[in-house]
């Protein structure tokens, strides 16, 4: 791994590049890195996916547990989404209780999936008021070279679409596919060198400012937004990002659908 520049030097360098519409690795402003998406990669998970975006690598795994439905929603199961960025994923990540960063990561990914309505929680009910499925989506970073948000969101929805409910193991029927009716896609933009770019690398994150995360549904409806880190942006800037997210979202959604024939 090359030695990271002193942040101030790095920031100057990134500004210079941006002024010439360039990026550290030669990409265009809204160009993503080389992307790999595989599903069914973890033998002990009921659904799984692996995403590689440049040197960023993550896994998503789906597990199922039995739960008692909440008393105010007796006919519904639940969805839980947890992101872990353990020290394996980078020099800067430390052991310990979940950091604010990893909490934000899981909650933003969770909201995008949850609010898209892609999972019908009433389909998870086994016996009303007594027994239902809890779907647990665990997001696990292996190598963090930037933009874990999009990597986690993509691996997450792909793993859910890959999941089988292990009804036989729990003696409640025959195994069946988890029904995932939509494909929410998150696209993240970070201000680097003064302008917003798509799919920031680790070094761009190190020398960048605020991030904007946009999750859109199949119909381009907005399901989740999040602004992170220090910085202020204008309405015009946001409009442009929203437009870009629509285009990129369509592209990535097709990639997910290609894996499962559209489900």
């Amino acid at each position: 791994m090359s030695i990271p520049l002193v942040p101030q030097l790095l920031r100057s360098h990134l500004t210079e590049l941006a002024d010439n519409d360039q990026r550290l690795d030669g990409r265009g402003q809204y160009e993503g890195r080389d992307l790999e998406l595989e599903v069914d990669v973890l033998a002990n998970a009921e659904g799984s996916a692996r995403v590689r975006m440049g040197d960023t690598i993550v896994f998503a795994g789906v597990k199922f547990q039995l739960m008692t439905p909440y008393s105010d929603r007796p006919n519904e199961g639940g969805l839980m989404c947890m992101a872990e960025v353990r020290p394996v994923a980078g020099r800067q990540h430390e052991a310990g209780p979940p950091s604010a960063e990893s909490i934000e990561l899981s909650r933003v990914v969770d909201r995008g999936i949850r609010e898209s309505g892609c999972i019908d929680t009433s389909d998870l009910c086994i016996i009303p008021g007594e027994k239902a499925w809890q779907v647990i989506l665990d997001l696990f970073a292996v190598s963090d070279d930037g933009n874990l948000f999009d990597a986690f969101a993509l691996a997450g929805i792909a793993a859910l679409r890959n999941a089988t409910i292990p009804q036989e193991k729990f003696e409640v029927g025959e195994d069946r596919k988890l029904i995932v009716s939509k494909t929410p896609i998150m696209c993240s933009y970070q201000r680097v060198g003064g302008r917003f770019i798509f799919d920031a690398s680790g070094r761009e994150e190190l020398g960048g400012d605020e991030r904007i995360h946009i999750t859109l549904g199949d119909d381009n409806n907005v399901h989740s937004l999040q602004k992170g880190l220090k910085g202020a942006f204008t309405a015009a800037e946001f409009k442009e990002l929203m437009e870009e997210a629509r285009k990129k979202g369509d592209e990535l959604r097709k990639m997910v659908h290609a894996l499962d024939g559209g489900n």
Binding site: P97, P98, A100, E101, I103, E104, R107, R111, R114, E115, S116, G117, E210, I212, G217, D219, N220, N221, V222, H223, S224, L225, Q226, K227, G228, L229, K230, G231, A232, F233, T234, A235, F238, M242
Partner: protein, 239 residues
């Protein structure tokens, strides 16, 4: 997020508390409510009751949190145990951690941190009664308390949320609207430039609905900003 047959808004566009779509709930502001703090503010907004207090700038310790070129903001958003219908157990809470983080990042965007290298400014936001939109009230109250403490800022941050009920976009959801609402778009707006330093959203909004909610927030922020300015002049709003 379902609302079944519950009708939250009537045929004339009047909401269950008598407001029109673009109206905000009643707001009152009082400064100096934490006498031992360097700056403080209590903001009541609908039934929300929020206290923000500022301590600092003070020496940042332990030293490893110090920054050579600027102050660090140490922001805590917290809901008191009795602030909600069901008691909240004190202690670690993932939701509060996330709100504290994005609130801190919003405030860092306006506080002139570079004036206080190696120091720390503590921002304490306590929700003592919660209705809906506590993160907006907390962020706005914190920016007023920072001003009250005399911390230099490029602008106040006015935060407000719009959302959707019964397929109608409305501004500043109250509790029952929030319970049955289909979307929530909180924003943190700089009144002098119209820029955003805070943005979240969850739910389901078409691109058009999204724009409508955005516009409501922008308009409401200008109104609320005036209340804040008056409070900072006289110590309270309304008089």
């Amino acid at each position: 997020m379902g609302y079944g047959d519950v009708q939250m808004i009537d045929a004339n566009g009047i909401r269950n508390d008598g407001r029109k779509a673009g109206d905000v709930r009643p707001i009152s502001i009082e400064l100096g409510v934490v006498p031992v703090a360097d700056g403080s503010c209590r903001m009541k907004w609908g039934s929300n009751d929020v206290i923000a207090a500022i301590y600092g700038p003070m020496e940042a310790h332990p030293r490893k949190i110090q920054r050579q070129d600027r102050a660090v903001l140490d922001v805590r958003y917290n809901m008191a145990p009795f602030s909600t219908s069901d008691r909240i157990r004190p202690g670690f809470n993932r939701r509060s951690r996330e709100i504290s983080k994005v609130t801190a990042e919003a405030l860092e965007s306006v506080v002139m941190l570079e004036l206080y290298p190696r120091s720390k400014i503590r921002v304490e936001i306590e929700i003592i009664c919660a209705e809906a939109g506590t993160r907006c009230v907390g962020l706005t109250a914190a920016s007023i308390a920072l001003a009250h403490a005399g911390i230099p800022m490029t602008d106040l941050v006015i935060s407000v949320a719009s959302g959707k009920i019964n397929d109608v976009v409305v501004c500043d959801l109250n509790k029952s609207e929030d319970n049955y609402g289909e979307a929530d778009l909180p924003m943190g707006i700089l009144p002098n430039t119209g820029e955003l330093v805070f943005l979240q959203m969850d739910g389901n909004l078409s691109q058009e609905e999204f724009q409508e909610a955005w516009d409501y927030n922008m308009e409401a922020a200008m109104v609320i900003h005036e209340y804040c300015v008056e409070a900072l002049k006289t110590g309270r709003y309304p008089q």
